[in-house]
Symmetry: C2
Subunit: 565 residues, 2 copies
């Protein structure tokens, strides 16, 4: 057996070979950290291709595709080219299958020309996929050396539905080894960087998607989220993303670490430069009745009534609860400013914002962390042992043995016993979790005493993680701001607010630290290092409240746009 | 600490003391096995009380209550009295709280008189509850000696909603120790018998409910089902029952064995003498938005569209798949006849019935059984150890150490390793289960080639267990006909068809036995012993298809009534 490093090099060379030679651009110097404008400047894209790829509203893109103003072939070529530019600048891709995509696009164009009818609501639209969504004949490597060469025998249900909807999958995107990380690095494809500042991470685990979409190399991507993996990279890269509830969107056939762990299920969701992308994707997939293909998918149709906020007073005077600080790790100054902006924007739009009081969060995280550790890392270790590659314990680019390790994180300190847990012990965690969910629901309902609307708080607004895009290898949080909605199965939608501003976002004096991570996060902040990075937040609603959460996120987004105009 | 037997006697005496002395009837001789007519003959019920309790259509009962033709107080008194008669004849009750119920009924009457408005859709209706549904201040004993004296601090969510809907809970009903049994016997309250023939079991684990409702001692009861516990007793006692999907109806706060086992969740559902009871209960609970109280309950409104069979061609020409024999245990002759009657009735009503081919059922049962055994019986053993009562291993009334034991059943033989399973191993079972569910879904969809409707089979019809009400202690099946819908989370509704007829249901010649249980079940049948017992079947639909399954069960029920008229 060859050395795992050789296998990685070969795979990386094969990836490079799958790029058309004529799309190789002259790279900017490494000192050029913000690479967002390079697609415009590098000369590879035509004016029309730039016009296509700069159309960030997915609704508009689809209208032009469906009216045949733009063919799927030209739209697909435009995004393929731009994705290859993104790849060369941020290393965001894994599998590249341009020929397959173009053939598909031409077939769709042909059908539309022939029949006058679109194949489905996503007709002609290129869509990128995180390296978990199995596609027939392609490898799904998910950051494991051992999975190189493992080709899927069939499409996962999501891909099947995307094809039925008329979409054009064209690339897959990078992830961290085993996915559980807020950065994107693995031994096979290496590290993905943030196009806003390549010295910073694009986040994780859907970090390849985030970098790609931020570069406008894809109009719509699909990621997954078990603790924040859709929302954290979206916040780091100025994107919108939806974390739906367990099994609202079809996960069958998606490869995943700890497969079969169903206590806190990973979910898939859309990432896009616009809320329209988030809504169109979610509605299209649900309208395709995923429960007819995925036996675990919820039989719950898209509800226009819920989207019209029937349970939220029709959306006229909403009341949001702002989670300024979860009492575990204090958000960095840019996030505090983003929350103030959002509050002011919502108030200016006639809504109300009250303080959200965090409720039993340490217990909730402790419970979740114990569930995640129930196999004592057996799943990841065994996959690494297959090839001999080391388990990645930290992601510092300087030295694989230095810096912060996840194993020492605050969240791990919440796990009392490390080691294999029995099924019976797992059941006890389920009991505890059920009680915590009930307690949190009652806490939420009690806010009706303070909202003035007669309803409980319509949604919570909070950071997705305590900081913005951080330097590679320095991530230090278990994202207590995101994982709580996974543990409680609350629907959440992340949205961009502003950018780190060195002058406005001055460091604060130290506060009494609640734990070593709180201190480490505080010390991490420096305006010089973080400046220019996107600052995003998330809106959190109830379980299976996808329609209302999308609708409320649209309201918040519109309010922010009016306010900052 | 007193001996557990003394504690049981004391609790049983307290139960007796909770019965009004004037409601004690003269008992018939033990040789009178069918006791259904005794409420009419014993003289305790007035003509009006007989008229009330003989009203088996819950819709009619509610109309009379809501129009004030009958007061809730008189209806409650009538059912209380009749439930006490049922108790004396079949030993079906655990907790009896007549005073609480009557006070509640009087309050409801008062509100209706004062405001002219009903409190909710179940206004004034007495409802009985299996001894799992925690009620503030009452014990929930669930067949464990150790749980005597354990009083609930709050109502479970279902009871909370029942009160909001205007219902009048009045008694709770008997269960087998630890629930996992097709009979109803425990050391505290003893054995429940079948009112159609007291030598036979009323089934389990919702066997107290079944005997009570069959006696018309309650118009509507609530049971639970993790492997057939609603459907088997309903079939044994000539009732209708719905097993909804996981979390469609609110389970929060219901006590349960193996709490926290969420791989195959126990669900609650209605039992009644009419389909109207099944529908009214299900719709009322869903309309109360259980997800606002139970964080795990599905946010899925009652869908009239699905009830109108929008996905089943409007219900005009349905195609059913008949599961004549699951290949594991052959159904007794009365069940074979019931299936033939149902097929003929459906065909006469313009529907189609094709053969259902069982699909990977042994694998499905093996997977389920391994999940259920993951704690190596620790949960039950530990609860028994608290009081010193023995774990009940068989239910023969003759000798606690003889006869068939569950531990030797065929289903246990599917479990390769007995002993505590690790969480990681449980995850592997989840993976396997997910693949089995997908495989079964595809198998189902493939039937569209044979139905002639353009759709897959609209529902499966099958026995709920391979035999009808059997003599006490002789149950020998793990109910392979029911547990498969629990494992795959398929909605199912059981309904009565006919009665065992000694002349029509003659024993068959032996067939090649597939396993020792198949043989034991074959040998169990004797027309003399089983004659007169009810024969029921079930209709099985998709996951979260409660509305359509109720609607189709109504169609089958109507067809059977026309056919046998």
């Amino acid at each position: 057996m060859s050395d795992w490093k050789d296998i990685c090099s070969a795979r990386k060379s094969a990836q490079l070979a799958s790029i058309p030679q004529e799309w190789i651009i002259q790279l900017p110097p490494e000192t050029r950290t913000n690479v967002l404008d390079i697609p415009k400047d590098c000369g590879l894209l035509t004016t029309r291709e730039l016009q296509i790829t700069e159309t960030t509203d997915v609704g508009i893109l689809l209208r032009k595709l469906h009216s045949s103003e733009w063919s799927s072939e030209e739209v697909t070529i435009a995004f393929c080219k731009r994705s290859i530019i993104a790849q060369q600048l941020t290393n965001c891709l894994t599998e590249i299958f341009i020929e397959r995509a173009l053939q598909r696009a031409r077939e769709l164009d042909d059908t539309l020309k022939r029949t006058g009818k679109i194949v489905g609501p996503l007709h002609g639209l290129p869509i990128s996929l995180k390296d978990q969504f199995a596609m027939k004949g392609l490898e799904t490597i998910m950051g494991y050396v051992a999975w190189i060469g493992k080709r899927a025998e069939s499409d996962c249900v999501l891909v099947e539905i995307l094809y039925e909807c008329g979409a054009v999958p064209f690339v897959r995107t990078n992830v961290p080894q085993a996915l559980m990380w807020w950065e994107t690095y693995n031994h096979v494809f290496g590290r993905t960087t943030n196009p806003y500042n390549r010295k910073l991470t694009s986040g994780g685990s859907s970090g390849g998607e985030a970098a790609l979409i931020a570069m406008k190399g894809s109009p719509l991507g699909v990621g997954t989220d078990i603790g924040g993996s859709l929302r954290v990279p979206s916040s780091f890269c100025n994107l919108y993303a939806l974390r739906p509830s367990y099994e609202r969107l079809p996960y069958y056939g998606v490869v995943n670490p700890q497969e079969g762990q169903e206590s806190i299920s990973s979910v898939l969701g859309p990432m896009s430069n616009s809320m329209s992308g988030v809504k169109i994707f979610t509605k299209a997939i649900i309208d395709a009745k995923p429960w007819t293909k995925d036996p675990l998918a919820l039989r719950k149709e898209w509800s226009e009534k819920e989207y019209c906020l029937s349970e939220h007073g029709g959306g006229k005077s909403l009341c949001f609860g702002m989670l300024w600080d979860n009492g575990i790790s204090r958000p960095h100054p840019p996030l505090q400013r983003a929350m103030k902006i959002t509050k002011a924007a919502l108030e200016a739009a006639g809504h109300k914002v009250i303080d959200w009081e965090p409720h039993r969060l340490v217990e909730i995280y402790g419970n979740a962390e114990k569930i995640f550790c129930s196999d004592d890392d057996h799943d990841r270790r065994s996959q690494c042992e297959l090839s001999g590659e080391p388990v990645i314990r930290m992601m510092s680019p300087i030295d694989d043995m230095q810096g912060h390790t996840m194993g020492e994180s605050f969240s791990r300190s919440l796990v009392d016993k490390v080691g294999h847990r029995s099924a019976y012990d797992l059941w006890q965690l389920h009991k505890e979790k059920r009680e915590l969910r009930k307690s949190h629901l009652e806490h939420w309902k009690k806010t009706s005493e303070r909202t003035g609307t007669g309803r409980p708080v319509d949604a919570i607004i909070s950071p997705t993680i305590a900081y913005t895009a951080a330097p590679h290898g320095l991530n230090t949080s278990a994202s207590f701001y995101s994982a709580f909605s996974n543990a409680l199965d609350l629907t959440a939608c992340s949205f961009p607010v502003t950018f780190v501003d060195g002058e406005l976002d001055v460091p604060q004096p130290p506060h009494p630290f609640r734990n070593h991570e709180d201190e480490a996060i505080f010390k991490l902040y420096s305006p010089d290092v973080f400046a220019g990075g996107p600052v995003g937040l998330q809106l959190i609603g109830g379980s299976q409240e996808e329609e209302a959460v999308i609708s409320m996120a649209e309201i918040v987004d519109a309010a922010l746009k009016v306010y900052s105009a």
